[in-house]
């Protein structure tokens, strides 16, 4: 169950619903609806990480988009530090974005191939329009250093980097405004196992260094188990089970969670000697 503490949560999602209207099939009559989310609620405490686990069509990516205010909910609220993001006026939302950033799944699609790494990483700062170009570049350099890339990489283009390095650049971009929350949508799914390990270690280090919270969306239970303090299992637009990973993955209550666990093919032995 969600942790009960006396401090207000960093992120509070309440009864989030998102229905999409499909193109009409008949001229009169009801419009077909896709019910992507049917009332999802959870909270994330500052400094802790929440994992959202589900398969395709479960609604987990919709959750990510709604939390990032890239899409508007049909009903329900997303509150960051007590403020409902979808009720903020446009300018207030733009400045609020400093506190929550996103890392996307596809390292090959989430970086503009026509821009240098420096510009890509500094984009969140540029959108806030608070500091000048020179300072933006300096901060970009710092962010890149924090993810293990060099300042000489700043003037290169994305196609000059490997998948793992591109994902680091994406993480550097998400970090540059020192956000309190990073929403990571399948950040390591497209990466090889050894590269995945490097990026996961990096994410852990950054959490310790900067105190950032992660909302990690993934289909990979092992990744979520490794990185997150709490897990929500999503199925057909609803959360079916919620709790710390140790509890969830060892003694799952909901049948769907059990199905998921069964399907994971663990490479024996389960523990490394």
């Amino acid at each position: 169950m969600s942790t009960t503490t006396s401090t207000a949560p960093l992120l509070q999602v309440t009864d989030l619903v998102r229905h999409y209207a499909m193109p009409r099939e008949t001229l009169f009559g009801t419009v077909p609806l896709v019910k992507a989310l049917n009332g999802v609620s959870f909270s994330v405490q500052a400094g802790r990480s929440m994992g959202i686990v589900g398969e395709s069509g479960s609604g987990k990516s919709t959750i990510a988009r709604l939390v990032m205010a890239l899409d508007t909910p049909t009903s329900g609220s997303v509150e960051l530090e007590g403020r409902d993001l979808h009720k903020l006026p446009r300018d207030a939302l733009r400045t609020a974005r400093r506190d929550f950033q996103m890392v996307f799944q596809d390292p090959y699609g989430s970086l503009d191939p026509r821009q240098t790494v420096a510009r890509i990483v500094a984009e969140p700062l540029e959108a806030l329009a608070e500091i000048g170009r020179a300072e933006q570049r300096e901060r970009a350099g710092e962010s890149l250093a924090a993810v293990g890339l060099r300042s000489t990489d700043m003037d290169k283009y994305p196609h000059e980097f490997s998948g793992g390095q591109r994902q680091r650049i994406a993480i550097a971009r998400a970090l540059i405004t020192r956000p309190k929350l990073i929403v990571a949508d399948e950040p390591v799914s497209a990466l090889d196992v050894s590269v995945q390990a490097q990026v996961l270690n990096l994410m852990q280090d950054l959490q310790q260094q900067f105190g950032v919270s992660y909302l990690l969306i993934s289909h990979d239970l092992a990744v979520v188990n490794h990185l997150c303090d709490d897990v929500c299992v999503v199925f057909k637009g609803q959360i079916v089970e919620q709790g710390p990973p140790e509890q969830l993955f060892r003694a799952a209550e909901h049948p769907y969670t059990r199905t998921l666990l069964d399907a994971v093919m663990a490479a024996p032995p389960h523990r490394l000697g």
Partner: protein, 293 residues
């Protein structure tokens, strides 16, 4: 996804060190570039020098075959054909540049707007392009010059207006494909508005398509100008024009067939060159490079 060779390293392709090396090995590109360069060269040179004055009539030496004094011969008024061709190139280029320019600026703006706003704005713009494209191009141009008068300016406007819906459609199709990319979502997640995203992310990534389209439409503009001048509606005498040279040569086909051959070849080579350049650029700017991971 779109079948057009858009984005990704479309323009970043040029920054890859091997681009010019590949370009110089690409037969279509080289051939096209050479012919296009010749066209531009002809027009430029004609500004400072021509073998003879294209306006000077010399009835005594009319309808001469090519010789050492008149390299390509003379026409029915004794004017030097080579000089006429050189100066005629100017008209072709002028029409091409301005007509394509009109289409590019207005059409691309409309296309970008349609892709950024979607909804009824997009519908309205697309219906407008459907409507415009429904009119046959040359007939529309003829109609306009008939109404507003013949002359190069009106010809340019007529041809240019037709470029607008073409560029609008192509821009919108390519831009739509870009809008669904993840780096656009990343830019939105930073708080960027549609206007900034359009100019900072979308436009650079569709530049490859636009460049190719420019060469194609340039060739079409040259052909259109020649057609209009042939019909007497484009460039007016005494301004030389390849199309009008063809028209004048028509009646003299059996007496001096070369009079039709030279302007005809000039038109054909210009159009061929531009099309090949466009083909070459399309190949070279292909996002094939995106797969070299």
């Amino acid at each position: 996804m779109s079948a057009l060779p858009i984005t990704a390293p479309g323009g970043a392709a040029m920054k890859v060190p091997g681009f010019w090396r590949r370009a110089l090995h690409h037969r279509s590109f080289v051939f096209g570039a050479v012919l296009t360069a010749l066209l531009v060269l002809a027009a430029t040179v004609s500004l400072v020098w021509t073998p003879w004055s294209p306006y000077e009539m010399d009835m005594a030496s009319k309808l001469q075959s090519p010789s050492w004094s008149h390299w390509l011969g003379t026409d029915s008024f004794g004017r030097d054909v080579a000089s006429l061709l050189l100066v005629g190139a100017r008209a072709s280029i002028l029409v091409g540049v301005i007509a394509v320019g009109i289409g590019l600026t207005v059409g691309t703006a409309l296309g970008l707007l349609a892709a950024a706003r979607r909804g009824w704005v997009e519908e309205a713009i697309m219906r407008f392009t459907d409507f415009s494209l429904a009119f046959p191009a040359i007939l529309s141009a003829i109609m306009m010059t008939a109404v507003f008068g013949a002359g190069i300016v009106n010809a340019i406007v007529a041809i240019g207006i037709y470029n607008i819906p073409t560029f609008a459609r192509i821009t919108r199709a390519s831009a739509n494909a870009i809008w669904s990319r993840e780096y656009i979502a990343a830019a939105r997640a930073c708080g960027k508005g549609a206007f900034s995203i359009t100019f900072q992310h979308v436009l650079p990534n569709i530049s490859a398509v636009l460049i190719v389209q420019i060469t194609i439409r340039f060739a079409i503009a040259i052909l259109a100008e020649a057609a209009l001048s042939y019909l007497g509606m484009g460039t007016q005498p005494p301004q030389p024009s390849w199309g009008r040279m063809l028209s004048e040569a028509q009646t003299l086909m059996f007496q001096a067939p070369l009079l039709a051959v030279f302007p005809g070849m000039a038109i054909a080579l210009a159009v061929l060159g531009l099309n090949m350049l466009g083909d070459g650029l399309r190949d070279l700017l292909d996002p094939r490079l995106a797969r070299a991971r």
